[in-house]
Amino acid sequence: MEIDLQHVVKLARIDLTPDEEARIRPQVEEILKYVEKLGELDVSDVEPTAHAVPLTNVMREDEIQPSLSHDDAMRNAPKKSNGLFVVPKIVE
């Protein structure tokens, strides 16, 4: 089966070199073909496991907790200026 790898790569925002693409494409296609074996099962009456634990109504009180210091928040920023995280210009 053929997948639109360029489309997926764009959604996932990951650049692939031509070598990587040449290697990854058939591997992904092989894996997708393998997982199709799930189609053998009749799951029409089965509920999906949406959550790994049977918990509900987990929440916290609306209380302010200490934030990071500004320095700690920015410490790992690749680029910053005037307290902001700097990114290439966003054009809308």
């Binding site: 997926v8 990951i14 990854i24 099962l41 799951v43 999906p48 790992n76 690749p78």
Partner: protein, 487 residues
């Protein structure tokens, strides 16, 4: 030699003032210096900081601090580089985080600190926990100490190696599809994956949110119980953590196994199971029978669908969890003319091939038109797999199997065939899908002197029982005393 001690031996000696925490930590650091260049269990470690913590532990002990209240006081414990420790690097085995220093730490680290542990070292791992060999680390593979041409297992390879060669007294790892149990089996130590929700995930860099758990790599089962006692418990910062009392997980130790029912899944007698592994595990199960357990065959009918189910769910969740690594707020940014090209270049340069493969797979199975056929279907099959286990646990208390179909293979042997690699997770993967607990303990060696692991799986929150069975077996054998000779 202090670094060869277990937690219980070390704390006994510390409490009796026969040894200092500083001596124990220094011994581990010396061991790292001696062997780690080849074994590559550690991505980094801060010797000064470790010794400072040890000194503080010694001062506390001198002041009367007791191991009754702080069961890990003075014990050097190393951490898989996927768990945040404040002011320490966090690489997740990847280049993409650059020289990220974490400004906060995981809840489990706080618990280790409260218990007095000396927390040090960033242990090698498959990048973002994606892998079964630690060959996917951006920092080179960790090598199996029993044969350095072979894999350590993964993704917590560094953790298993470090414990196996006494570079630390115990280690934390993470397990999403077997990443603690399998390297433990390959390296000859004890690997415990708690039930999902038993241990907080706050501070564990997420790979697959509904499958990940932090667990332990230790030299024996008593240490595993001690560590589990410390790291377990509800965390208000983790919405998936369970409110449930933490018992003393060693409380069943010493009791005999009479009445314990052990199930052997018939579907696990599959092709690909190495005969030496099979023989070793069979012998171990026979021994469990002699120790009082009743062994019977059970069925886990949906076993053959587990790998497919896992690789849809895990990769889908991972594709979202790893979207945050794009160079805006942290990490090794590669510049671009606009945010999209910056993101693409950063992720293209920073992620290794296995991570890219899984993100692509995960993105695809969630993408428009495919959700029902892949992700939704996989979640339904997951329900069937869990029901298999819950039904089995109505008949038996524990399910036993080999941890891995083979012992450690050679580095590079499976590199070109990801699907083959995935299929070797067959025995461990279901436990994560079913949200149950599991432990791997050493049960023998191959003729090539490679460790073999016995896996015991327990029902949700049944850690006490699997630890008890593992402990009884362990104490009736001497596998756990074997150490590799390092040249």
């Amino acid at each position: 030699m202090p670094h060869t001690l277990t937690i219980h031996e070390l704390t006994t000696q510390l409490a009796a003032r026969q040894l200092t925490a500083r001596e124990a930590t220094q011994a581990c650091l010396d061991r790292i210096t001696a062997v780690d260049e080849n074994l590559n269990a550690f991505i980094s470690h801060d010797a000064q900081d470790a010794l400072a913590q040890a000194a503080a532990a010694d001062a506390a002990i001198a002041n009367g601090a007791s191991h009754d209240e702080q069961p890990l006081l003075g014990v050097p414990i190393a951490i898989k580089d996927v768990i945040a420790v404040k002011n320490q690097p966090l690489t997740c085995g990847s280049k993409i985080l650059g020289d990220f220093i974490s400004p906060y730490e995981a809840t489990v680290i706080g618990k280790l600190r409260d218990a007095g542990a000396t927390i040090f070292g960033r242990l090698n791992m498959d990048e973002f926990a994606m892998g079964s060999s630690t060959e996917n680390s951006a920092f080179g593979p960790a090598r199996n100490p029993w044969d350095q041409e072979r894999i350590s297992g993964g993704s917590s390879g560094g953790s298993a190696v470090a414990v196996a060669v006494d570079e630390c007294i115990a280690a934390l790892g993470s397990d999403t599809g077997g990443s603690i149990r399998q390297p433990a089996a390959h390296c000859g130590c004890v690997g415990l994956k708690p039930t999902y929700g038993r241990v907080s995930r706050f501070g564990l860099v997420a790979y697959a949110s509904s499958l990940d758990q932090i667990g332990t790599l230790t030299k024996d089962t008593r240490d595993a119980a001690t560590m589990l006692n410390v790291i377990s418990g509800h965390d208000p910062r983790d919405s998936t953590s369970i409110q449930r009392d933490v018992p003393d997980y060693a409380s069943g130790f010493g009791e005999n196994l009479k009445g314990l029912k052990i199930g052997l899944p018939r579907e696990y007698q599959a092709a690909g199971l190495d005969p030496e592994v099979r023989d070793s595990v069979d012998a171990a199960i026979k021994q469990l029978g002699e120790l009082g357990a009743e062994v019977r065959e059970i069925s886990l009918p949906h076993t053959e669908y587990a790998v497919a189910t896992y690789y849809i769910i895990a990769t889908a969740e991972a594709s979202a969890n790893l979207a945050r690594f794009e160079g805006v707020r942290y990490g090794a940014r590669v510049e671009g003319s606009d945010p999209e090209s910056m993101n693409r270049a950063t992720r293209g340069a920073g992620f290794g091939e296995e991570v890219k493969r899984r993100i692509i797979l995960g993105t695809y199975v969630l993408s428009s038109g495919y959700y029902d056929a892949y992700y939704l279907r996989a979640q339904k099959v997951r329900t069937l797999i869990r029901e298999d286990f819950l039904k089995a646990f109505e008949e038996v208390d524990i399910i036993a199997s080999p941890t891995s179909p083979t012992a450690a293979f050679k580095i590079g042997e499976k590199a070109g065939d990801p699907l083959q690699m995935y299929l070797s997770d067959i025995y461990t993967i279901s436990a994560n899908l079913a949200s149950i607990c599991g432990i791997s303990v050493p049960c023998g060696f191959t003729s090539g002197n490679l460790p073999i692991g016995l896996q015991l799986l327990g029902r949700p929150f049944g850690e006490g029982k699997i630890l008890q069975a593992a402990h009884t077996y362990e104490q009736a054998t001497d596998w756990h005393t074997k150490r590799p000779t390092i040249n």
